[in-house]
Symmetry: C2
Subunit: 259 residues, 2 copies
């Protein structure tokens, strides 16, 4: 059993013992008026680089909060490099997708416009805010990077050759996801290669898109069973299977106290 | 390419060629005023027993719609028997969970009150309505049964001995989910046994609950990686892995037309 601060916050500042840092208005308000914390209260901080640190609230002012960093609680870990490349979907579902994909350990969220993508604008700030909140809750030590949207064509033209791409194909030739990933998992380096999962929009991929993807050397097209999954469900199912079979599914959460 | 009605509806009536059936006010309104369908338009019907049938709208009246059943389009399939047993969570998330679990093929949704479950009432009609809508969208031929909530104690006291239970354990001893399910999958009967996935509330299981579960002969406790997942995420991740490794992950959706 570990005595731990209940509140975890992502910050951009460097973290080291004795450093003092400030929080912006939104987060200061949250600590003071939502969580009703007072000077002296402990929170945990992480920035994606320096591990997790305990910090104490020095005090609040008008629209700010000052914290002093204490001890390191967890060292930074090495995460599997897994992007989620996804056709953007409408607002409530994209919020949800950003949250769940962060919980499932993606290191980047990359919106991509495909032929049948109906959504034309993506609020990347909002995606990032959802990812931050999810990372704080999930005891992650990092927050996924959020890329600006690009077309599928441009994405593939610039694709880094060493990054493998798992395409969730609701139609056309595809292998069952567990068989495809299970075979790849027999190579001990597999989970440490960079990977990405690609999911289409609600209308699915165009046949020409799936045909084009199938020809690329870094692509593995997989099926997710007999039901037609919504775009967000397909993404989550593929990410969950990837982590379980190729990723960090063997690791356990940091020790939590039992009540 | 298959010419298919875009609208699928779950009905309770028996389905056979030539039968006439009526829809209630809500669904009649949906067809007439949301989808703007007219007499003569085709829809697809399923009831969880008789497969999927094409039907034509005979006409609309005040608060009703009459349909005549035509040809059978898909025979009823045999589904893997997989319950989701879950501590109820708050409203938006429970709607979402019912939707996603239905897409992922559960045959029953069983709310269960655990020691740290904060939600005290469950609207099972609402859960069922969410499941119906998800089944219609997912091209499923059935809708999961929704049970009334019971306590974990009562659930386990009446547990059918032949049904295996996959417990998502965020703490305590547990095997990685892919390893545990992969080992079970080597038994050819495994996917055809009845199974259930159990997930706890936002506060997690009490240690005494996890200890008690671990002693039961039908329980396999599994871990889902190093991140602390929200209750809904844990359920979806476990269901996705179960279907991929032990379930119907090798099957493909019915042929869809490409635009």
């Amino acid at each position: 059993m570990q005595d731990k601060p209940a509140t975890r916050l992502y910050v951009e500042d460097d973290l080291a013992a004795g450093r003092t840092l400030g929080l912006d208005h939104t987060r200061a308000h949250y600590l003071r008026h939502v969580l009703r914390l007072e000077a002296g209260a402990a929170v945990a901080l992480f920035n994606g680089r320096d591990g997790e640190w305990e910090a104490r609230i020095d005090g609040f002012g008008k629209g700010w909060c000052s914290l002093t960093v204490g001890e390191c609680r967890r060292p930074q870990n090495r995460e599997r490099d897994l992007w989620l490349v996804f056709a953007p979907i409408k607002r409530a579902r994209i919020d949800f997708l950003a949250e769940k994909a962060t919980e499932l350990g993606v290191t980047a969220l990359r919106p991509v416009f495909t032929r049948f993508t109906a959504v034309t604008r993506v609020n990347t700030d909002r995606l990032f805010a959802n990812a931050v909140e999810a990372a704080e809750q999930a005891e992650r030590l990092s927050v996924p990077r959020v890329f600006e949207p690009v077309s599928l064509e441009d994405l593939l033209a610039d694709w880094p050759a060493e990054r493998r791409l798992l395409v969730c194909a609701e139609a056309g030739p595809a292998r069952p996801i567990a068989a495809a990933l299970g075979e790849i998992a027999r190579d001990p380096a597999a989970g440490f290669e960079p990977w990405a999962v690609l999911t289409g929009p609600e209308g699915g991929f165009a046949r020409s898109e799936l045909d084009g993807l199938a020809k690329l050397p870094f692509v593995t097209a997989v099926g997710l069973g007999p039901r037609v999954l919504r775009a967000d469900t397909a993404a989550l199912a593929a990410l969950a299977c990837w982590q379980a079979i190729l990723g960090d599914g063997e690791d356990r959460p940091p020790v939590r106290s039992f009540s």
